[in-house]
């Protein structure tokens, strides 16, 4: 059963009448049986969206459908959902068994059946041995699995997870996210997984929904969204190390790496320039405009104007005839790849990350020329941030 959100909006009103638009006209279809990662920075409305799907919050506008059924006005208990809270919300006074059985007792499942279903579910998530413990006597990862078992035991139509891994340490996090993926596959239940960790979302989701300030940014398979970001926010949010951004300019269908003066205007308030002597400005200004590639190559035409160029760390190629020369500041060899840190030639406070094949011998202090892989390079409109 798929989930459809149609123009769903949630506005919170504070005591002083000030309003927060937590979710803004969200339009998403969550396909049946898939695991969807709801991704975005803190405060972008992920939990709010999840709680609206759960029915714990009521949207101000828009409709929510489970399959063909409009559930917008249905209370949470009638929606048939399982929800795993950010801090699990396990009942502290009940044992693991009692916690898992609780939803079944509510709907008056006979005791014997409830017991065996609870055990079955506990075995599925791998905590079958811990049934008589209290939540306090479990590790974070074990608690999380109890929470999943409790959410799944009543065989909900939808499983909702609110940052379930945020309380775990790095290793346990890796382990449990594989676990979640496995449980989701085995049960085939439509699942929404909220996280602000892009790596987490990319690694387990069939699709990701990327949000910012309550507005949907992009939806798609993780790799697709990574390869074809539709705007600057998406490109910046996905990927570790993050994408490198340069100021650029388009002149007659040629993409130029912008000159130093433009860097200056970016990092320094323009009015300060008036206080400087002409010599000082000249000293800070690099008049060279380096053509790096033709917009035609990227199969896009764009009007002349200022742009932002984004290049993924793996989009750099060591190339003696490359257009951009950079001085290497630091080298980290990480097995297969070499990670380079370079200083912005025009701004000491900015640095970039470049990942190249480790067969290249590079050391700190070297000046290396680079060219770029066109499919790892994106050009964004400077004002709207949309990809060109």
């Amino acid at each position: 059963m798929d989930i459809k959100l149609q123009k769903v909006t949630k506005i919170f009103q504070a005591k002083d009448k000030s309003e927060t638009v937590a979710v803004n006209a969200l339009d998403v279809v969550i396909p049946s049986g898939k695991l969807i990662g709801l991704l975005g920075p803190s405060g972008c409305g992920k939990s709010t969206t999840l709680y609206m799907i759960a029915g714990l919050l009521e949207p101000n506008e828009g409709r929510i459908f489970f399959g063909d059924e409009d559930v917008t006005d249905l209370p949470p208990e009638e929606r048939g959902i399982g929800l795993v809270f950010q801090n699990y919300a396990l009942y502290p006074h009940m044992t693991v068994r009692q916690n898992i059985m609780f939803p079944l007792e509510n709907i008056k499942v006979p005791k014997q059946e409830a017991l065996s279903r609870a055990q079955e579910m506990a075995d599925l998530v791998g905590i079958g041995e811990l049934m008589d413990r209290k939540p306090k006597q479990l590790s974070g990862g074990q608690q999380q699995r109890v929470a999943i078992a409790r959410a799944l035991v009543k065989q909900p139509r939808v499983l909702l997870l609110d940052e379930p891994l945020s309380n775990l340490d790095a290793r346990l996090r890796l382990q449990t996210r594989e676990e979640i993926k496995r449980i989701q596959r085995e049960t085939g239940i439509t699942t929404v997984f909220v996280t602000h960790d892009q790596e987490e979302a990319m690694s387990i989701s069939d699709q990701i929904v990327l949000m910012d300030f309550g507005v949907k940014q992009q939806v798609g398979e993780p790799q697709f969204v990574y390869d074809k970001p539709i705007n600057l926010f998406v490109a910046k949010f996905l990927g570790t190390p993050p994408i490198n951004l340069f100021a650029g300019e388009i002149v007659k269908n040629k993409l130029l790496l912008a000159d130093g003066k433009k860097y200056r205007t970016e990092t320094q308030a323009p009015e300060h320039q008036e206080d400087l002597t002409e010599d000082a400005i000249r000293a800070m200004t690099h008049e060279v405009k380096v053509p790096i590639c033709n917009v035609e190559i990227m199969d896009k035409k764009a009007p002349d104007g200022d742009v932002v160029i984004g290049i993924r760390p793996e989009g750099f190629v060591v190339d003696e005839k490359g257009p951009l020369e950079l001085e290497i500041f630091m080298v980290e060899t990480i097995g297969r790849d070499t990670s380079l840190v370079v200083k912005d030639p025009f701004d000491d406070n900015k640095s970039y990350r470049i990942i190249i094949d480790s067969s290249y011998r590079v050391k700190a202090g070297d000046k290396v020329k680079f060219s770029f892989k066109p499919d790892k390079m994106f050009v964004f409109d400077k004002t709207s941030g949309d990809v060109l």
Partner: protein, 311 residues
């Protein structure tokens, strides 16, 4: 070195309190034990004729009022405390669930706490007054004849005077103790994570089960605390009776068998005749009897709560 220093500081901070406690609590406590075992102690002369092991206790038990006091204390304790705890719990849960006027209503329910018990007792005496009382007036609206609650002068059936007076006293006791209980329960309820209730909603938990399976267990430390302190308070009931019935401890005109005297009442009764031989020792003995009852009872409750309370 550091630890030692902070230890000295801690003791210094505690010193004033310890001094006051020694003078006004520990000394009287030990003195009471001492007095309870003196034979024919004369308070005015400060003299005694040696020690007696059980003499004073036997004197207390043989007092005509002792049985009545035990019965009254037991009734007040075992009727008022459970009802008060349950009523306070209900009111707190209701208060906690409403959004509007919550602050205002909290204040209303808290008012009795900052009001003098004697003043409230007098107010209740008036509420239960048979001619002018609010209660009888309201009963009159629904066609029930006035009942002689606590003032017997206007005849009425003297045989049931104890029941009526006790009823009025219990209502007053329960009401007077509600404020503090509600305050404790409310703060407890507000500290329960709202997510438990969200989780319960998601799992389609019926309201009564939410109350019995989530609210009560999560509130159980508060419930245990309130129950134990309420029992102790109820065993020591005295002020309420003075407030409602005055120093006679019974409705005007009631027979002495219908008195509402309690064990603490017995203590004060003996103290009132301090000039009589052995009276002070009897008062001490009575208070030790009460102490032992409370001690035994509290130990039992602690034992029970160990199994029932989820910390």
């Amino acid at each position: 070195m550091l630890e030692k220093q902070s230890n000295v500081k801690a003791w210094l901070y505690l010193a004033p309190a310890m001094l006051l406690l020694s003078v006004f609590t520990f000394y009287p406590l030990f003195n009471a034990f001492f007095l309870a075992f003196l034979r024919d102690y004369e308070f005015l002369l400060g003299s005694a004729r040696g020690f007696t092991f059980l003499g004073n206790f036997i004197n207390v038990i043989n007092k005509p009022d002792f049985g009545i006091a035990m019965k009254n204390t037991a009734v007040i304790t075992f009727v008022s405390v459970p009802i008060a705890v349950i009523v306070a719990l209900m009111i707190s849960v209701a208060l906690n669930s409403i959004k509007k006027f919550q602050g205002f209503l909290q204040t209303v329910f808290f008012l009795p706490y900052v009001t003098n018990a004697i003043a409230i007792g007098m107010a209740f005496a008036f509420i239960f007054h048979s001619d002018y009382g609010l209660l009888n007036t309201m009963l009159g609206w629904v066609g029930i004849d006035p009942i002689n609650w606590i003032n017997l002068r206007q005849a009425g059936n003297a045989d049931t005077s104890w029941i009526r007076a006790m009823f009025a006293l219990l209502v007053y006791t329960i009401w007077g103790g509600l404020a503090f209980k509600i305050m404790v329960f409310l703060s407890g309820l507000q500290s329960i994570d709202k997510q438990y209730y969200d989780a319960a909603r998601i799992d389609a938990t019926p309201k009564r089960r939410v109350f019995s399976k989530i609210t009560v267990p999560l509130l159980s430390p508060m419930i245990a605390y309130i129950t134990i302190t309420s029992f102790i308070g109820a065993f020591k009931a005295y002020r309420t009776i003075i407030g409602m019935f005055g120093e006679s401890l019974r409705p005007p005109g009631a027979l002495s068998k219908d008195s509402l005297i309690t064990i603490v009442g017995l203590v004060y009764d003996s103290l009132a005749h301090a000039d009589a031989t052995g009276a002070i020792s009897e008062a001490a003995a009575a208070s030790i009897i009460l102490f032992l009852i409370i001690l035994a009872f509290t130990l039992i409750q602690m034992q029970v709560s160990k199994r029932r309370v989820h910390f």
